[in-house]
Symmetry: D2
Subunit: 263 residues, 4 copies
């Protein structure tokens, strides 16, 4: 295949830009172009069940509305995410405002690199979690808890997931502010967060899928959880990953997707 040269046009839209990247075909442009093409194929077929995995602070970083939209438009069939994104989605829906105060700690704010949220927003979040948890009892799966949260929120991807009945899995959620409140609540209430039930549920989803695709943003537990589930059916049919993680550490976070085939 010939490597083409990038032709800039002032009226270029994002789709045209990505097609140019694909025409160029090498280095980062080629990777970006191929990723766009894979997404196009994944989304052009109704037979593909699409998993979206999101590690890190994507919502604090401003991508919450994008995830909400992917869910509402039926472009993803399940989301696997870190607790951080669940917490920040709820914080924003509850009126918490993220501000940009630079790469420094500021009194009265919790910081994510160069994004800050006032600590009082966490007090509001605590009230909210107490309310949500007080209406639940016995064994509750993570996705059920997250839908309950979503139903009580006016915006955000948790609300969209509850409306569209798209499951949100967060296998590491105990390691977050949600986990903290679950822990406090479960000390004197009959409440057990049943994360194993989510594994049943994801397994069924994967078994029933005609084809399986994954959009992997960052690595960590969400990527591993999706790839582990994909093993149950011999792997992913389509996958795109965007990460800063390196392969040479040996961590799955930075591993090329071929590595998963060896499992």
């Amino acid at each position: 295949m010939k490597r083409e040269t990038f032709r800039y046009r002032g009226d270029m839209d994002l789709d045209g830009f990505l097609r140019e990247m694909e025409r160029v075909g090498v280095l980062g442009a080629g990777r970006l172009g191929r990723a766009a093409r894979i997404l196009e194929k994944m989304w052009s077929s109704d037979d593909v069940t699409v998993l979206l995995t999101v590690a890190g602070p994507a919502v604090a970083g401003g991508l919450g509305e994008l995830f909400e939209r992917l869910i509402r438009e039926g472009l993803v069939d399940a989301v696997i995410t870190s607790g951080a994104n669940v917490v920040h989605d709820a914080l924003e829906a509850l009126g918490g405002i993220h501000v940009c105060l630079g790469e420094r700690n500021v009194d009265g704010y919790g910081r994510v690199h160069d994004t800050h949220i006032p600590t009082e927003a966490f007090e509001e979040f605590e009230r909210f979690m107490r309310e949500v948890l007080s209406d639940l009892s016995g064994r509750v799966s993570c996705r059920e808890l997250l839908w309950e949260m979503g139903k009580r929120l006016e915006s955000g991807f948790l609300r969209a997931a509850a409306d569209e009945e798209v499951p949100i899995y967060s296998p590491g959620i105990l390691d977050s502010m949600v986990g903290l409140h679950v822990w406090i609540h479960s000390q004197d209430h009959d409440f057990h967060l049943d994360l194993v039930d989510d594994m049943h549920h994801l397994a069924d989803l994967v078994f029933e899928a005609e084809e399986l695709g994954a959009i992997i943003l960052g690595g960590s537990v969400p990527k591993h959880f999706a790839m582990g589930a994909a093993m149950l059916r011999g792997g992913l049919d389509y996958a795109v990953q965007i990460t800063m993680d390196r392969p040479e550490t040996g961590s799955l976070s930075g591993a090329p997707l071929e590595e998963g085939k060896s499992w």
Copy 2:
């Protein structure tokens, strides 16, 4: 402080090498030297409760014996790790041999970058997990499960932790082969993995500590879980982290430790 020049000596031992790095004092040498000095302080006091967090495939990468030794010598008071390290520690103790077959998939082997383990080792692991789980019932914390595993193994850091009664926490363990077998087992047995109980336990450990230190290898859930617990007492008194993760992604994995103070 004057930046010294590195003086190589043929008979230099690791301690001398690290002191030279500290004398140089800048760039990577300075960071390495300061880390060594912090570890020295952390370990020279009996008042410091030391948490070791280990993400990624450190055991598959050959560090299992080092963790075993840190536990046996009382240099760490608790370990927080990924499921992968738990699984690979047990695989090795059960006689599974890791081999080096290069950065490629090889039939009959599970691959971690350039490390490979025969798939039959996972069958042996399955038998082992079935045996361990069959002796447990009701609500079982992750650290109890890991000690039960350790008691049945003849070597490795899980065995050392069981012998020395050092708690091992693995908040993301469901996202591993242990999680897979817990899931299968819990389908038709009265067995609930109670990860919330581990939060109580770690919280008590942190509250009772006179001073708190952390050795953070890689980021991800283990780092976040340790830093979250440290928040309960106003943060860490000593910390060393070794990671390839970058701060600019905003993920806690690559965040400078100061960021945690803002929480």
Copy 3:
């Protein structure tokens, strides 16, 4: 400043996309948005002399036409680049076709990561350089040599630079195929490549500038050469850099631009 959430629109063009990134304002989006705004300011004033520095294999990677366009539209007043980009621009103008054969060596092709060029293209390049050099004698500056090359080429950024009389500096050019042919030629001809003369020329350009801006793609010698020249007038008034280089190595390639102010 409030951190906004990214709003995707199907009809978004590149300008709209960059403005959204600026609205988000944090992490990579914020850096990208601020860079776009700085370029806008730099280009909206006639008083800014703009230096473009290009390290690495940007032309082999398909950006040659973009550089050609920046030159023809008067958006850059001087280019400082590696020898590699000069060589690949000439190779393409001489009809050499870059192809994509993956990340592997292929007999009969010279490889740049996943871009390949047939070795015969280098024979054509050799004929071309012999022809160019045979018409030159005595002390010749690098920019004069590059204009001579450009005048004989039918396309590419060297041709654009010759047409528009935009100087191209390549302080490390001896370390390239151009350097190889200069070396061979100068063995039996009166030809001295006078790289010092380019320093005079750039110094004059910098002294005469009302304001000085730089677009720094990659680091290495081109970045250092531009920042060294900027020192002669107290630094850059506008700068944007795009690089994968890290600050912690201490290399200027990955250094934040503030570091240059200390010189």
Copy 4:
């Protein structure tokens, strides 16, 4: 090959440590162990001509004495380095003291990441360069200039190179404080820095070598210059590279050494 587990011993010296890394054999440990073994082979034979390439601010970072020692012990036959290392070696030999003032600019100091040197040291350096240059005239190769500098210095790797008659090549030297003074001096003196002559000299060295090895620290022009010269004889017989540069940018700086074989 079996992957061994790392066995720490308190009395371990650097050699023992590297042998353990080689025993482990995977991930970073394996790469480090293999590099040590390659150096051992390279240095155990008298037939190998060893090139040392040093990019970035290694001398400012405290490695000057190490390079001096490699030269004096005959472990390297030629050095190819950035101008920065030449300048900092001379600054230190002239009594300039590098100090550690953190990652910030400090008035009166030139900064390299977290290393600082008082600006007056550069005035002393200017006097020194004026003196060196006033004794030279006509066409002078870079290695001759650097030996002249070394002869007048009481310590450092330039002095060692002059004493041991080990050539130092610095193809990008014009892009440094040496280049600045060469430029100023050549404005009103008959002095031409003849960088092409160094290419003849290195070519002869490479042609005469029975076997050719390279120790590549960082990438950039020094790495490319060494690999370009190695092409003249079909490549390197031994090579070790240490770099933070990434392959995916396509830059030679981060390229695996196999890529060079395609040239």
